[in-house]
Amino acid sequence: MSKHAFWHALVFTLIVFSLGLLLGFFIEFKQSERVYFELVDSELNILDEQLRQRIISDSNISCELAKESLFSFADKIYTDAVDLEDSDATGKLTDLTVLHRRYDLLRTLLLLEAQNLKERCKGDFHIVSYLYYYNVDDVEISSKQNYFSRQLFDLKSIHPKEVILIPIAIDTKVASVDIFVKSLGNNTYPSIIINGDKVISNFVTLQELEDIVFNVENSDD
């Protein structure tokens, strides 16, 4: 009788499983390494941007140049974030929360820079920040976030040079983000903040969103 087969099979399974997990760790580590390099590159860019802002404000360089570099940086961060989300979705063994937090910090810095530039240069662009939950189990909130995400993507696609899109997760426990969120005085999330003052938490159509974004600027005039 081959009753030792039970133990042999257990040992074999443990070995194969462990090798599989190790391979998984290795593959995910390689993937997160790539995302990490993107993050470091983005962090360098934000420092670069901050320095540029100081140079611009000190030496009267055109707002157009400043706006161009800000948009380019914001678009890069947005693409990096999409990459990070994809890695997060496929990663089952490595924790990318730290990378998420760093990106949220970066985007908060970007938001402040954008607000400074808009104020200083009377910028003809609109800052659309999107505050969402990173960890969500609720089906309704998840669907709403999904919808907002698509809507803002469409808005950005239609107005690439007029809208700067900054999504920020509000539950990754970054202190500065927590303070910024509290300062808004808004309790309903996900929500879209337009130019730092208009808050949208309910469903609106794309057209309505466009009207709100561009009319807000008009009403300020």
């Binding site: 081959s2 194969v16 499983f17 995910e28 919808y147």
Partner: protein, 412 residues
């Protein structure tokens, strides 16, 4: 990072990998002896054939018994009709007249609702010490009996012997899938025989010691799978069930989904009845408590839990997609983005793929050993369908069986 659901998937993957590896580890050292059988001396055998509305197949079944390569004077065939309302009795009577002395017919005055009662009637009427039980739609190969009898003669503890049950013909797609299934089951059952874990002596053709059947109280008439229950009972008494892979019996398989579904519900209810009846034996000494009952029980629990989890995830995903689509249509936004189609595989996908390939190889090996490879019924498409779709239905069968059992809807 891993969440609870992903962790559950890992556990399932581990168990699936373990079970298939176990069978391979049993197969490898025993592969040269799988088809061997102990030399048996022909001794008198009573063959019991319960019959109910089998006018289409009973004649063929009787012919195959009459053609067994076994001394004719050492076989008596007892057909027990369970109050058929077709002309099964008339057909059998013709055989009784032609082969008087070799074939007997007993007719029940009312239908018992199962195979156990007519089988018990036949056993009580049997003259000989060895009992073979067969179905009235099954045809054993000519050398099946002589190959099986040796198992009962070498070891007094051996109380039952089964053989390879193969699907008879494959006219419909459903039957082709069952042809694959029966081949793999037969091979797997022989592997379980190598570790004394045979858990059933299927009705199409099985051999028993009459004295042991009487000792344990004959077949359970309340159980829908009396062929599983009798083996568990024999094992609970300390007896052994063996399997002879080189002996084959061909059995009719359901042609259509509805018949197949009904059959599998019955098998599952019977399995459930057995688990509940023998639950006190779990984890006790011997392979019944050490492997068979835990295997059945955990398969049931894992199947139910897995189905529940699958339904939960499916419903959650479906609700999210419906809501997002509804909002997107309302909002005039893009319905589907390239980004939404995340085709990057996860480590779970990788493990799943490895397991699937492993299972596919396992099926190919099994079909090859059972000499079923290369047939048009067992082509690659059918094997893939069997692995991906056919087997996935089982948890639904399980839950339906549990519902029927709990609501008392227990019938053949």
């Amino acid at each position: 990072m891993l969440n609870f659901i992903e962790l559950v998937f890992y556990v399932y993957l581990f168990i699936a990998l373990y079970m298939t590896s176990l069978l391979v580890f049993i197969w490898v050292p025993n592969r040269k002896n799988l088809f061997s059988y102990p030399f048996g001396k022909a001794v008198p055998v009573s063959i019991i054939m319960p019959c109910y509305n089998d006018s289409g197949t009973v004649a063929h079944a009787l012919d195959s018994l009459l053609n067994l390569r076994y001394p004719k004077e050492m076989i008596e065939i007892i057909v027990v009709d369970d109050k058929s309302n077709d002309n099964s009795v008339e057909i059998v009577r013709k055989y009784v007249e032609k082969y008087s002395g070799r074939i007997k017919l007993i007719v029940h005055s009312k239908n018992s609702g199962g195979a156990a009662s007519p089988t018990n009637t036949g056993i009580k009427a049997a003259n000989y010490d060895f009992i073979a039980v067969t179905d009235s739609d099954s045809t054993p190969e000519a050398d099946a009996l002589i190959k099986m009898i040796g198992f009962l003669q070498g070891n007094e503890k051996v109380a039952a012997v089964t053989c390879a049950v193969m699907a008879k013909g494959a006219d419909t797609f459903m039957q082709k899938l069952q042809m694959i299934e029966y081949s793999i089951i037969s091979w797997s059952r022989k592997l379980l025989d190598c570790v004394d874990a045979v858990y059933v002596t299927p009705g199409p053709f099985a051999l028993y010691r009459k004295s042991k059947l009487i000792e344990v109280g004959l077949f359970d008439t309340k159980n829908l799978t009396q062929d599983i229950e009798i083996v568990w009972r024999l094992k609970s008494y300390g007896y052994i069930a063996r399997m002879c892979l080189s002996a084959r019996v061909y059995s009719e398989t359901p042609k259509k989904f509805k018949q197949w579904w009904k059959q599998r519900i019955r098998w599952n209810i019977g399995g459930l009845q057995c688990i509940l009846k023998y639950k006190s034996f779990i984890f006790r000494n011997g392979m019944l408590g050490g492997f068979i009952i835990p295997f059945f029980s955990f398969s049931l629990l894992l199947g139910l839990f897995g189905l529940g989890l699958f339904i939960y995830l499916l419903i959650k995903r479906t609700i999210i997609e419906i809501l997002v689509t509804k909002y997107s249509i309302y909002g005039g936004t893009t319905l589907l983005r390239l980004q939404d189609l995340n085709l990057n595989p996860t480590i779970l996908n990788f493990f799943g793929l490895v397991l699937f390939i492993w299972a596919f190889i396992f099926v190919l090996i099994g079909l090859s050993i059972m000499d079923m490879r290369g047939r048009k019924e067992t082509n690659v498409f059918n094997i893939l369908y069997y692995l991906l779709i056919y087997l996935s239905i089982y948890p639904i069968i399980m839950i339906t069986s549990i519902y029927k059992y709990v609501t008392g809807n227990i019938k053949w």
